[in-house]
Symmetry: D2
Subunit: 277 residues, 4 copies
């Protein structure tokens, strides 16, 4: 029995420039297109009759980008999904995944240059459109938003068992590479909404008196639902990028919570979804 | 409303050596431990009372490895999951993800050395144990198994639309980085079963007359279900690592299907699950 | 004959926090320490008598960081190098390589937060100190500074041979991931000097009428030597991150220099050093 | 004053298939081409008259590959370098860097398949040709050859200072990702020579009673010079991929040198060149 079939094209790189006068605009995307539908004959019999090549999916991204004016990624994803559903009766669902690489303007003599850009990162903006014959779902998000608090973070009062050696702390460094994804339950002003959610996540992280990563994650998600009406639910993943205080006592030195080693492995991972009830 | 909460430790690196005489054995794992359960108070109130630190999860991996004799990853995953369920009443489900980095023996004077190893790769062996209060599911797999066919691969007769420019071909290079995951519906001899599935996947890939990646993927999955009774279902993901024939006509040269450029982006992605019906 | 011996510790991760009141400062470094000297007996005879363990090099980084107030990376590199030379008579030369990961402050209600940070990147600041018994050399730099011009870039009038198919262009996208390294021939105010060089590189890149990557690279290096007296020489490496205009004519569409595919491989690489003569 | 100018193309991916009957052969290379010469006018004046585009360098790789029968990478590098020197009078030196990705044959029913391959790795074979108007230098090598010894490795009797906390050990795990580069001082049978050097490195690593990484590195390099006459010098870089024994005493367990954590950062780096005197 064949199940969960899907095929598509990933890693489609599109850089689009709008040139209205001297102040150019740039949009830099990595896209993935994915079809789910009734393609069993292709698997079982090698019958390609109704199979649109993934090469054509890639071509379509460039062709539709040329037709459309430069707009928000969410909008472009909807245009792509609708095009693919219209032209491919065997498709049940189209998914468009987008990662936008962010650029800001280079400043020259205190003024933003119109045609020169510097890449921001490691953060990227994400958008995700899933469309079937009945409805479309639009998610937006941020990925790899690396943030750190140098105060206001504790971890104490936790469960101990035979293998627990961790010391309690009321003042640790808290760092994460945040991935957040949220769903709009209707159309919204995608650009302003994205900036509002991102700002709310950052401000809540900065101000929160954290008892744990879980505690701060919840506060961040809650603040988004409380503050931005168009968001229906939000999912956060927060790896705990541990910064361990270095023990200097062997050298007769004291570490006044100032010297840390940043570690990659192992790392905690905390996640949750918050929905309007 | 809080949903889909989970927390755990990822990137736990364990290298274990058994030393029965001169012929040592090595097992090299990257593990992730994940708890799902009733931990809402930790999120909403910062109450850590029942929260086992992820640092303890890591310690437990090393401690239980020291107690257990070196066995198959699937077995070690079951031991870990059971330990965590027993000690943490709030946990509903424990997941242990394992990636085994493979080593073979260095050959000296035509004989395998007992204490010197060379890393194989990029392939790794995977195992995945999910256990709740009622049952355990055990998956095994391979990841990043990079394979290539220099004949027996066509792609023709496909659907064309306004944006289709791809030429049909009856003789192309077919390359993929296979990820396969299969489920055992009861205990099995995990080591021999893993080798049998891997061998079946490779042999079917090599011998298949391919009409598409989908076609070969199905043949490979089918051969596993047909040949190995302990496998209940199998999921394959096969990115299409395109090797494009280089057009040499501009230089007055002919490309007799011999000169290719290997590309990373964009790439096709094909996937499916096959289950016993 | 034994030559070019060297040993050391790489990947030392140091995060240091200064807490003067509410406005914390953070410095996030990856360091490498390297010794060159008379260590032949260690290689030829396994005699470790004078070999300081690389583990001690790592410990020393943390211990000296705790003793020193938080200062510019160049300064910290000089402190480390001098310490190692003093304590290890067999060492002829010590090299300290530093990569600083950059953080800016999170803004809350329009004001910079004193204890919450967001990682900038992919750019990093680099510093490099090489010290022997006679003198010290200090280099500073930037790495992975990704920049793009959407106008003011041509490439034409180049040499053609039998294998040349590239079209001439007077308006292309120019993008690079700049690595720049420059040398101070005496002490300087390391912080302000670094910012001045970086700003000069960016402004020149933005304003230049480019005939080639070489042409722009020279203009950037020249502007630094002309504008910042403390810089003795500067070395630039500029990979050409090609953005290829997509040919849309097959779909009856025109590409008005707006739709590009960003490619990773292959890429051009252009480099040069500029010295005061 | 302009110095150290160079330009070229990197990341050129060439996969070449030879089809003599049923048993195909594959060669999978990533190449970089680099020109050094009198190109100052291009930098200073934007004069591209004599500048061969890097796009043409890439085209040349494919065109010459089509003309040549499939041979050793070293040979192909010499062909490329000579071609570029002949056609470009301003070039003083051409460098061709090659990394060969290794494939072995898939075994079906105990026999090697003629047209199906599996990628080996992470190891790759390297070759490097540098040619000027007078002479050519040919280097060969291996990169990322990951090897591990579970016995026969000590580190003791080393220097201690105020910051030394490392314990002495007479039985540790020794692991490295070897990069080796050696020079042939005249032509040789490149294929057999490469295999002979690689085998000598592996066998010496396996059998050596190691007092330190330095000690083993020297023994390996020495064995190559002693055993393979065509090698003029050899350079080894051996990062020390630390495997730290886990302290289990807190849980009342003993670690009988069996349980290790593999770490990435920080890592030691040891290197040296051995030349015939």
């Amino acid at each position: 029995m064949l199940a969960d079939t899907a095929y598509g094209k990933s890693g489609v790189r599109l850089v689009q420039v709008a040139r209205p006068g001297d102040r150019h605009t740039i949009r830099d995307l990595t896209l993935a297109v994915r079809f789910e539908g009734d393609y069993d004959a292709c698997y079982t019999d090698g019958d390609n009759t109704d199979v649109l090549p993934t090469d054509t999916m890639k071509n379509t991204v460039y062709a539709l980008a040329a037709r459309e004016r430069l707009a928000e990624p969410e909008h472009f994803g909807l245009v792509l999904a609708e095009h693919f559903l219209d032209g491919n009766p065997r498709v049940r669902r189209v998914t468009i995944d987008m990662r936008e690489h962010l650029w800001s303007r280079i400043t020259v003599d205190g003024r933003e240059h119109g045609q020169a850009f510097i890449r921001e990162g490691p953060e990227s903006r994400t958008a995700h459109v899933r469309m079937d014959r009945l409805e479309a779902q639009v998610h937006a998000g941020v990925a790899d938003l690396v943030i750190l608090k140098s105060s206001g973070s504790a971890f104490a009062g936790f469960k101990r068992d035979d293998f627990t050696t961790l010391a309690e702390t009321d003042d640790r460094l808290l760092a994460t590479a945040l991935t957040a994804t949220w769903r709009y339950d209707s159309g919204t002003a995608y650009g302003p909404a994205w900036h509002a959610v991102r700002r709310t996540l950052l401000e809540t992280f900065a101000d929160h008196e954290s008892q744990s990563v879980q505690h701060t994650l919840y506060a961040m998600a809650r603040a988004v639902l409380d503050g931005i009406a168009d968001v229906a639910d939000i999912h956060l993943v927060m790896p705990n990028r541990h910064h361990l205080a270095v023990d200097l006592t062997a050298y007769g030195l004291e570490n006044r919570n100032e010297i840390f080693v940043a570690t990659e492995e192992p790392h905690g991972v905390i996640q949750a979804t918050l929905r309007r009830s």
